[in-house]
């Protein structure tokens, strides 16, 4: 499990909300810290990769898929770099 500083729950949120909410949360995060985003949106896996590739201030440090109570949860660990 990748280490993280804060967690953001975006379960149930659909495109583009996981991204929008994460962007807001990462803005409140001190530089250097890692945000763990918990999503149920399957498209978020590729979305977070695209975001990290484009944005200047975030780095995707890990992604995991876990099954919780029969539901797939997509975990994204994003680090604020600037």
């Amino acid at each position: 499990m990748t280490s993280f500083d804060q967690t953001l729950d975006v379960k149930g949120a659909k495109c583009p909300m996981p991204l929008v909410k994460s962007r807001k949360a990462i803005g409140d995060l001190p530089v250097g810290q890692v945000l763990k985003v918990v999503a149920t949106d399957r498209g978020s896996v590729a979305d977070f990769q695209g975001w990290a590739k484009t944005a200047k201030n975030v780095e995707l440090v890990g992604q995991e898929t876990v099954n919780e109570g029969g539901q797939d949860l997509y975990l994204h660990f994003i680090k604020r770099t600037a």
């Binding site: 659909k14 583009p16 590739k53 484009t54 200047k56």
Partner: protein
Amino acid sequence: MTTTTDTDTLLERIALLERRVAELENHPAQGIEDRVALVVFSGDLDKAIAAFIIATGAASMGLEVSMFFTFWGLSAVKKQKIFNGKDLLEQGFTAMLPGKLGDTGLSQMNFFGAGAQIIRSLMKKHDVSSPEELFALAQELGVRMVVCDMSRELLGVKDAELVDGLELGGVATFLGDAARAKVTLFI
């Protein structure tokens, strides 16, 4: 002595350049202008949804976003219908065209508005943000929204019929942003 200083300076500059190259390689899309320019020409609900999702998504990714509403696309940024002070033709256009985003229909399978209602209920069922929420979100995220003043005048749309806080502009306003954009879409 001078030679040493020059070598040091050069090494320093090489190190700086290497860091810069590594930085650029890590973020290939990074540039002076990370901008997206969208033309919203269509007045259909489905296309407006696509436009607002792209706009909010791009803004969340840290891109600058400009949206240009022209022709039928004005329907996406209207808030009401006003008939007073318009000539017959303008009143006709006002009567025939949607008065707000909520009145717009689908580009396909609209069935006199039933299709639009079905899509809206499906979006709600699947927890997708409503078109109105996406619009508000786009404004909140600082998306630049410009209304084409020429088509506004042509269709007889009054300023008071438009949502507050929009800019007015023309083709050069769009091109000014589009020329510096990495992504340009005509919707």
